[in-house]
Assembly symmetry: C2
Homo-oligomer: 218 residues x 2
């Protein structure tokens, strides 16, 4: 085993231990946690912007934004009125459990029902890093192509839900919705599917209901 592979295993196993501790803490404090992963520009932040305002009237929500640089996304989320903390990874291509642990000082866990973590836009590296979440949501936009689950299998294998976003652009692409669902299910038969468009509002009620149901079920 190479030095690099050995160190990667060590870092991952350290991350897994810390993620398990976080999972225990979230269970104890009764906080549902969602980790949102995708390529850059799939529309994760827009999906949150469109639904958080209304949901925060019925649920107590906090958001952690992960980006390499800028706090653009935190500024967008802050405008919905939901408490948000920005992690700038400064080059790191994914969030790690340790970064989440440190970010928790910015929230009062006992007052939260739902913590949403928006990961760095990257369809590869975040798949290997458990953040202690209860559910992992992978967003794919129709402009990215329907072959993405096969090309980035770890991400779709580790996700509980696949949200097919930017459905309004479907008529202008060759994206085959049935094919992407088939690909995702061939990797992960249990994966739940939602279809959304932040422009037309398609599927946003279902997305909100899903988020609420997840939070209340925990």
């Amino acid at each position: 085993m190479s030095e690099k592979v050995k160190l990667e295993k060590k870092i991952l196993s350290r991350n897994d231990l810390l993620a398990a501790e976080l999972r225990d803490l979230f269970a104890k404090e009764d906080v549902a946690v969602m980790n949102m992963v995708s390529s850059p520009g799939s529309g994760k932040t827009s999906l949150l912007e469109k639904t958080l305002g209304a949901q925060s009237e019925v649920l107590s929500i906090g958001v952690i934004e992960g980006d390499i640089q800028t706090d653009n996304d935190a500024a967008r989320i802050a405008r919905t009125g939901v408490p948000v903390h920005q992690i700038q990874t400064g080059g790191a291509c994914h969030l790690e459990a340790e970064m989440i642990r440190k970010a928790l000082v910015h929230f009062s866990l006992k007052d939260l029902e739902l913590l949403i973590i928006e990961n760095v836009g990257n369809l590869v590296c975040p798949s290997a890093f458990d953040l202690g979440e209860g559910i992992r949501v992978s967003i794919i936009s129709v402009t990215e192509g329907d072959d993405k689950p096969m090309k980035y299998p770890a991400m779709f294998r580790s996700a509980d839900v696949m949200v097919i976003n930017k459905m309004d652009l479907l008529p202008y692409t060759d994206f085959d919705v049935e094919k992407v669902i088939h690909h995702a299910r061939s990797l992960n038969p249990e994966i739940q599917i939602l279809k959304t468009s932040c422009r037309t509002g398609e599927g946003l009620d279902e997305w909100s209901s899903f988020v609420t149901a997840f939070t209340q079920r925990k």
Copy 2:
């Protein structure tokens, strides 16, 4: 310095040494080399598909495809008649110089004028790995949002060219072309800009001319 940072520096400096050797080899064999980087689904392969067939009548071209899994992209390129080799990284989120060195056995360098490397779809990690290329081309599609250069600065700082792709979808998005150019140039004043659409053909002649000029200038 942590164990992880130390090893990363060691891996990067080993990669840089090997990339420098490759660069010397490409210069000796008179091969122009282009490294294409982007998010998943920006349209790198489509851009090559649309232009390689015609260009291969005037230039001797080879293509290396980098993907985590599948050889879908190599199969698409092979249909253009251009020699192609697929690297499956098996989980690694970027190509490294060592992978390129090994792939070169599949080509006759002395017969090649242009080698195009299509990197793994990832707007983060490939930016740190020099592959010995003469030019780095970063593709961004208009559906990804005009804030991407600011959010993923290393990629746009290290690129020589930014291709704004899927221009046909511009009317259906909030993407601001002037803004993305401004952002990219604020990071990298010398960056060259091209705009393309594989659907309408917009900018494909300019892209082909650019590739030919780069190859002949070397």
